[in-house]
Amino acid sequence: MTLHQPNKSLALLNSKAPYANNAGKDALDIALVFGSFEQATALFFQGDGVYQLMQGQDGDIISVKDYLKTFSAFEFYDIEDVYVCQQSLIERGLASDFHIEQVQVLNQHDFASKLTTHSTILRF
């Protein structure tokens, strides 16, 4: 594709819990569009953003359309890089029980290093 630039890649840094606002959904929409244009895209979860990955959630209970289910489509869009900040999990007393498979838990140093390999970073 003409848009393809091998040295460019996008990181989406998610910092918000899933249901109170639409930030997570807004980031997801960007990820899927970049994926469909074959742009290298990675997702990072830090702070309350880590709640987006936890198993057993169900937005339907509070009348919120549950965009978290769409995470299972990542492989279809060639989105393979999903990273979560270990320290954020520990602070919240959360185990690594994620609702998708390919999540990689990184310590603070590795999370920062991986994030800053990307040329463009948008935070939601």
Binding site: K16, A17, A20, Y51, G93
Partner: protein, 95 residues
Amino acid sequence: MTTLHIVRQSAFTTSDFAQCLQTVKDSDCIVFTDDGCYNLTHPCIKQLSVQVELKAIIEHVNARAINLTNTKATTITMNELVALTFQTDRVITWQ
């Protein structure tokens, strides 16, 4: 004379709940709604030296898959929150 505190934000993200804790008094009631429900697992809840009731809206807890096992909180319905509004003397919404 007691106060109903409605807490709607995560203490991991904003200082609203920390400010609530500066204001809360014996016999007050704190109701966690929305992302405020995450506060039941926040370390600062253990700093509560006063005797307050901790409650959370059941649907908001369940949607977020929050485990209340090791907390002192009970779950309530929205109808019960409406009733609490008049069982207390005033309301502060921390959002």
